[in-house]
């Protein structure tokens, strides 16, 4: 008899724990090119109390535990490197509170981005949250655990972790802690003014604890939306153009992208600008100011706005955009993975050229681009490479291209985001030793038995 299985089943019920070959197979891998590693159990808790008991058991038995949200990270962060328990959080998907007067929501960690979107649309149509480009089953807490960003990251303050107003976390030793204002008063409005402990769990990829609840900022949802597309062939002008548009403070979302397909797009640098407004008059003014900001480029005939047919506008205004998932089928192979490097806006031309060099070297197709974060303090620059899942050689080639993209991103002053273990090693090799030492000591303090997503963010010999 598997006593661990029995003990877990006592906590969540037999329907929500599995050590069957089918679940172990599927939870051993993600959609990217990282190597599969089998878990021993897949467990689906339904409450903080259940998470607490499972983590306490894992800690007592020294069993690794890997929290998992939407299973869409692509870079292997929820692949259990050392076996143990994969904690699928998607049963914990209740929207606990929407405070319309104070513009925040409190949700359980497994709440899907799409479900919160749908809920707000129905019950609080004047409010919205920042939606990532990931499919709508991506979870709120999953995106917090990886420092994700989304369609309000340009205009509303940056990464999704910067939009968090509070957390509830189960520590590796089994205690439940509340972080932010909710630790002191029964409201989830802010992480300030008390010492900010939430940072110990945000962006840590589940290596310090299990996030069970999230307080999240909500933003106004103006009724009118439009999208315009600016185009140039000169990549060196992109940072300047981006800042001209950013500085108008008229755009909600600004994203730069290039793609060799369709063929007529090849060589064009495109900037997608989303604009929202409460009235036609406001929309007109916003669009005019954006046009005015790039007037010198238009007058020089070096760049201009691309006319967009209505059907394309509808697609581009969707958040998230469904056609991003279609990229996985470019090679008729059901896969893509990307390096998303956080870097300064000024690095875009160099990052773009590096991408062209890498894709040419490996003979692979690509999509590259960047989303502006935090009014231009940085961008998330992505190198996305599709692959054919049925072609192992093609997958190996893409894995090499991803690794080289990680290296290049660091070389030009960026830092790979939600990166694979190999990318983490590259970062740790460059990190100030005292910073890494502090990270390690914090982890030891929070997780004395090293059960939380082990294998990640550890210098490997």
């Amino acid at each position: 008899m598997d006593t661990i299985y029995e003990k877990i089943a006592d906590i969540v019920g037999t329907n929500y724990v599995s050590n069957a070959a089918e679940e172990l197979y599927l939870y051993s891998r993600d959609q990217g090119v990282q190597q599969a590693r089998l878990p021993d159990y897949v467990v689906m808790p339904n409450s903080t109390e259940e998470v607490q008991k499972i983590v306490a058991l894992a800690n007592e038995e020294k069993i690794p535990i890997v929290p998992m949200g939407g299973a869409l990270v692509l870079s292997g962060l929820t692949i259990p490197q050392k076996g143990g328990i994969v904690l699928d959080m998607k049963r914990m998907n209740h929207i606990l509170e929407v405070n319309e007067k104070s513009h925040y929501a409190v949700v359980e960690a497994g709440t899907a981005q799409g479900m919160l979107q749908a809920y707000l649309k129905k019950h609080h149509p004047k409010l919205k949250h920042s939606v990532p480009d990931a499919p709508p089953v991506a979870t709120i807490a999953g995106n917090i655990a990886i420092h994700g960003s989304g369609h309000l990251s340009q205009s509303e303050g940056g990464f999704h972790t910067e939009m968090v107003t509070g957390l509830e976390v189960v520590l590796a030793t089994g205690e439940v802690v509340k972080l932010g204002s909710c630790s002191t008063v029964p409201k989830w409005f802010s992480r300030a003014p008390i010492p900010d402990l939430a940072g110990l769990f945000m962006g840590w990829n589940g290596t310090t604890g299990v996030i069970t609840k999230v307080g999240l900022k909500l933003f106004p949802s103006p009724k009118l939306k439009d999208v315009i597309m600016f185009m140039t062939e000169d990549v060196d002008s992109i940072p300047d153009i981006l800042f001209k548009i950013i500085d108008t403070e008229m755009a909600e979302d600004i994203a730069f992208f290039v793609s060799p397909k369709p063929a007529y797009f090849d060589g064009f640098q495109l900037i997608m600008i989303s604009v929202v407004a409460n009235s036609e008059k406001e929309m007109k003014l916003r669009l005019e100011l954006i046009h005015e900001s790039v007037r010198e480029y238009m007058d020089s005939k070096e760049a201009g706005f691309l006319p967009l047919p209505p059907y394309m506008k509808v697609k581009l205004l969707d958040a998230p955009q469904k056609n991003l998932s279609e990229f996985a089928d470019i090679m008729k192979g059901g896969g893509f993975e990307y390096v998303g490097a956080i870097m300064p806006v000024e690095s875009i031309p160099e990052a773009y050229r590096a991408g062209l060099e890498i894709t040419s070297k490996y003979g692979i197709t690509y999509s590259m681009g960047a989303r502006v974060v935090g009014r231009g303090s940085c961008v998330m620059f992505y190198y996305a490479y599709p692959f054919n899942r049925a072609d192992s050689e093609n997958m190996k080639t893409v894995a090499k291209a991803l690794e080289e993209s990680n290296e290049k991103a660091l070389e030009i002053g960026g830092i790979p985001w939600k990166t694979e273990i190999s990318g983490q090693q590259l970062i740790l090799n460059r990190m100030e030793p005292e910073t890494y030492k502090m990270m390690t000591e914090i982890r030891k303090l929070l997780d004395p038995n090293g059960i939380m997503n082990p294998g990640n963010w550890e210098v490997q010999s």
Binding site: A21, E22, L26, Y27, A71, D88, G114, P135, G334
Partner: protein, 386 residues
């Protein structure tokens, strides 16, 4: 596994769009909603199927449960992000079941259902002679040269709720002067659910038997009680040599409501549950709504998940008979009736005998009898005429 399917299985990215309706409201794949493991989502099923075909996963009871828990509702087809594979998803799952059936490795309830269909010609193991018993006392002629054949199917012929529904529809058709007859004891199962459960050979046998008798009797136009029968006869029988003009009964009612139908008034708030085999499988969303909306006094309230986003009752793909999904608070039917109650409707209207039974049972399981009751569209029209 057909090559055309085997060649594309690896193209599923497992991005998870298939779990949700297009408005993202909640999980809309009944198997995933119930079990919540990634393995029970359409994407998970695609990846497991590939692993199984590659020999990385062996046939097991769990694998059978995963494949046979799909209710073929086509939410995944509607929501999938990949235009080049989405239309084939359910066909692929049915093909996987065919492989399991061929191996003789199916869950016991599937085995028992297919055995009953082979031996008795119906899942209830009842005598063929009783197929027309539902019509007793209604004076419906056996089909000779009437304009329409009313095709009832297994659930309408043998299940208590289905029989009640068949009588409602037949009564309404008779009262409205529609010229129709039935096959009674000469009717054969339409085979729709046999096909979706992967027994292609038995389905072909049943279809041929039906087509032969329909042709022999000179049937040209058919009205079906069940959307499942409607789907089989309309879309599958032509491939087996049987082409007929096929209507679901709500389509006929929809046509009659404006002129020939004597209507009364019914002051009730009603919400309509779209049957998957009428809606997503056959793109018919308006006929039942038109029929209901034509009744003076009825206030139609839509559930948040409606039409292409409707949550299946959980009875499709043979699950009504095999109950692989089972009951419980996360079962599709129980979730669906709670959603219906949220609209404030007193009547949950259905157009399928399987949905009727599934949702009726769910109302009881959820103790919602005081708040809402299930009625089929014909029953509602009849009620308005009292």
């Amino acid at each position: 596994m057909k090559k055309e399917y085997a060649d594309i299985i690896h193209r599923c990215f497992r991005c998870g769009w298939c779990k949700l309706p297009t408005n993202y409201q909640d999980f809309n794949c009944p198997a995933y909603l119930k079990y919540r493991f990634e393995t029970f989502s359409s994407g998970g099923r695609m990846w497991l199927l590939r692993a199984w075909l590659n020999g990385d996963i062996q046939t097991s009871e769990r694998l059978q449960q995963i494949f046979f828990s799909c209710v073929t509702c086509k939410n995944c087809v509607e929501a999938c992000a990949l235009p080049n594979i989405k239309d084939k998803l359910v066909d692929i799952f049915i093909a996987a079941r065919e492989d399991l059936v061929e191996q003789g490795t199916v869950p016991p309830p599937v085995r028992d259902y297919l055995k009953a269909m082979s031996i008795s010609g119906n899942p209830y193991k009842k005598p063929q002679a009783e197929r027309g018993a539902w019509a007793e006392g209604l004076n419906i002629p056996r089909y000779t040269d009437e304009e329409y054949l009313f095709y009832v199917g297994d659930v309408g012929s043998y299940d208590e709720v289905g029989m009640k529904m068949a009588r409602s529809v037949a009564t309404l058709l008779s009262d409205t002067g529609v010229s129709f007859g039935i096959l009674g004891e000469d009717e054969t199962s339409d085979g729709n659910d046999v096909k979706t459960l992967g027994e292609a050979g038995l389905y072909e046998h049943l279809a041929k038997q039906n087509i032969d008798i329909l042709k022999e009797r000179g049937v040209k136009k058919i009205i079906t009680l069940s959307p499942h029968g409607y789907n089989a006869i309309k879309n599958e029988y032509p491939n087996a040599g049987g082409t007929f003009e096929v209507y679901h009964y709500t389509q006929v009612l929809g046509l009659m409501m404006n002129d020939t139908m004597p209507k009364g008034t019914l002051n009730k708030k009603v919400t309509f549950h779209d049957p998957c085999y009428l809606g997503r499988w056959n793109d018919e969303y308006w006929a039942p709504r038109f029929a209901l909306g034509s009744i003076p006094g009825i206030e139609l309230a839509e559930m948040d998940r409606n039409m292409k986003n409707a949550l299946c009752c959980g009875g499709g793909g043979g699950n009504f008979f095999t109950d692989i999904l089972g009951t419980g608070e996360d079962s599709a039917a129980q979730v669906r009736v709670k959603e219906a109650v949220e609209t404030g409707a007193e009547i949950l209207a259905v157009a399928c005998p399987i949905c009727y039974k599934m949702l009726d049972d769910a109302i009881k399981a959820e103790n919602l009898e005081e708040k809402i009751r299930v009625m089929d569209v014909a029953e509602i029209v009849n009620e308005s005429r009292k």
